[in-house]
Symmetry: C2
Subunit: 226 residues, 2 copies
């Protein structure tokens, strides 16, 4: 397995179809039980008029938010997933890698930018966070949901670094898992600091069965807005 | 075991002597290996002129910082521990519970306030954080080192709440362990938010043997300073 950002995109190309099916059928227990609603709750604490769903995947969150009257714009690197979005959504969608975000000419800024389990790589995630800073309106929020580092760490050393991926727990339709870049909480905080964001809140949605956090949600605002 | 803030003070009265001995002899491995230096490093990132060591115990950190030319003021609820401080320190020390901090007339403000493993209770910790807000100079920092919630959680549910204490791993001179109030990272963040602090950074000093965080350090600034 190659430990690169482009390898992540390659894997998602391969797995776009089974992923769409898994989301449609609500096959991922922690999403169905906790993390889908958790990200919606944080977004709706201050309902945005305009929201950017960065790494929107097949578009379930974009559709959910659009149905609440929010103007949603979705970006994803995987054309097959954006196709699914366009077939079904009221929102606007475009194909773009995080590496190419800076080439994208967006004619508006957003009240909220959300990355829901969509910051998986190293440089690519850093580019997505940097990009977000200049796409937020004044007092806008960047909201990131990701694996909880202490839970996702497993038996390995608690240090930032690439890790091999796995589809364990998923159907056998999934192939060639993508590597992912593990970040500690300190690592995430350093990334926000370098990108001139400040942490506003951290949420740790509790998994009702394991009684441990099912994810972590970081809510950030541009340093300049404080 | 009673789950109250006052029970914590009672336990420290009982254990002041063995605690002082354990610190002098560097019997607590994680302190010797990691967390003592970790808190000093964070403090010295922006060396303060005036520092308040809130819950200073027998005074090792106050002495260490005073030896670097910092004017240190130490507060602790346990007279026996403050006695030890006074016998040996260049710093100034006073006995006061967190509950009585608001009655204390301090004639100066501080560049940094540090709570090194000294926020153990519920209301008492909240009072200490609230108190700190008004005792900081402009652009001052509140620095808190505490048990890492995900590590300290053990097999119990990851939820804020009182827990029974234990002296396991300590010598048999220690008696009547104090209860402590467990806070999740989200719980700590809520406390900072309610007290009008903003998180600047989070540090997770790595234990070289376990390769997991030995503690967590929160660095906060008054909301009004941003």
């Amino acid at each position: 397995m190659l430990f690169t950002d482009s390898e992540i995109i390659r894997s998602w190309h391969v797995n776009a179809a089974p992923w769409t099916k898994a989301i449609e059928r609500e096959e991922i227990e922690s999403r169905k039980l906790i993390t889908n609603q958790a990200i919606i709750n944080v977004i709706l604490e201050e309902p945005p008029l305009e929201l950017l769903d960065l790494g929107c995947g097949e578009g379930w969150l974009a559709r959910e938010l659009a149905s609440k009257g929010i103007n949603v714009f979705g970006i994803d690197a995987v054309p097959e997933l954006i196709e699914k979005c366009k077939q079904r959504g009221d929102a606007n969608f475009v194909v773009c890698t995080y590496e190419n975000l800076s080439l994208l000419k967006l004619d508006k800024k957003f009240d909220s930018i959300v990355c829901n389990f969509s910051l998986i790589g190293k440089e690519s995630s850093e580019l997505a966070v940097h990009f977000s800073l200049n796409q937020l309106k004044a007092n806008g929020r960047l909201i990131i949901q990701t694996l909880h580092p202490l839970i996702a760490c497993g038996d390995l050393a608690y240090m930032d670094g690439w890790r091999p991926g796995s589809w364990s727990g998923f159907s056998e339709d999934f192939k060639e898992p993508a590597p992912w870049y593990f970040r500690t909480i300190e690592g995430w905080c350093r990334l926000f600091e370098r990108s001139k964001f400040r942490l506003l809140s951290i949420y740790e949605p509790l998994h009702p069965r394991t009684q441990k956090p099912a994810s972590i949600i970081f809510e950030c605002v541009p340093e300049a807005d404080l």
